[in-house]
Amino acid sequence: MIARPVRALSSLVVVLLAAACTNSFEIPIETPIRPKLDVAAFQRVLVAGFIAGGTEDVDGNLETTRLLRSQLRTKSQLRVIDSDVLPLVDVASEGRDSGGVTTTPVAIKEEKDLEAYEHVFANVEYWKKIGEEYQQPLIVTGTVMFTPLQRNSIVQREQEVYDSFGRRRVVPVRTYMERKGFSLDGRFIFIDGRSGATLHSESFGEQILYNANQTTPALSSYFELMDRLIPTFLSTLSSQKIKGTRILLQ
């Protein structure tokens, strides 16, 4: 006697749950992001060069300058100045020499090695001179460290298993794995070519890891990591629209 109303009630709950599930609607949205920096005063942009270090397989200065210039050409209103890439490590070393301390450029292998050169970004006179040379543009510079990584850790992966009836199941399996990859860290610095002063600076850091037996060229890893950073870089200078979907509720 009691079983029938209970069964009816439970089926009603199922129906109500199903109805509740249909009371949501997926909708595409485009979130406009205002630029972090007001670049209205500039018509031109000079990606001057970077103090780069890490692996010798990729020229971080040259590749970063090239990539940012090409991105700005297609995705910003500013006119991109084509010029030789500045050898900022040499410039920073010369600056030190004129200050009475003689330094010879050393290979930049770790982040702490950058410290010896970072004073160049605060050299207002130097950047003002560069600005005058290129008709007072917005200047983009900074640091780039592209270093190899190695991590040994427990990772979870999915494995197919078949039971005695031949049914396939996918189960999570934890295994110890050697992984290799790269990290890309540094800073984008935006300098006013009229005054030589820093307008904005932004740090970044991304990592990528592969199975140790996988051979991925350093340059493709570099581009993969830069791909992740480009939207953030561009959103500093120009407004962007980020596409996505959300769930409306009723």
Partner: protein
């Protein structure tokens, strides 16, 4: 006699306010439904107006705040979007769909307000 009157009055008040609350929820739902139909046609300003009305009519109706948050996000008003998502989650902390929307919003918001920017 006087002592007995007070509880009776309270019960009557409670009974009288229940249909009022139900009416408010039903009115808010109508506004939310209309808002969804116009948002699906790209009329986000009208949708915002409807969902703001719904939140005024029934401030405890989480879907109104969730939908408002989405509309504010679409308009680029990220501060208002955050406040609306947080209100929706306060009202329905266990709602997985609101949580999912909020997580996606935070991903964008964190990207635009980089912690290391000077």
């Amino acid at each position: 006699m006087r002592v007995a009157v007070v509880p009776i009055m309270l019960v009557l008040l409670a009974l009288a306010s229940a249909p009022l609350q139900a009416d408010a929820r039903s009115d808010a739902k109508k506004q939310v439904e209309f808002g969804i139909s116009v948002a699906q046609r790209g009329l986000w300003r009208e949708a915002i107006y409807r969902w703001e009305r719904a939140a005024q009519i029934d401030p405890s109706y989480a879907p109104a705040h969730n939908n408002l948050a989405i509309a504010y996000e679409h308009e680029g008003d990220l501060a208002k979007a955050r406040a609306a998502y947080e209100r929706a989650l306060e009202l329905e902390p266990g709602n997985a769909l609101i949580k999912q929307n909020y997580e996606l919003f935070r991903e964008i918001n964190d990207r635009t307000t980089s912690k290391s920017a000077q």
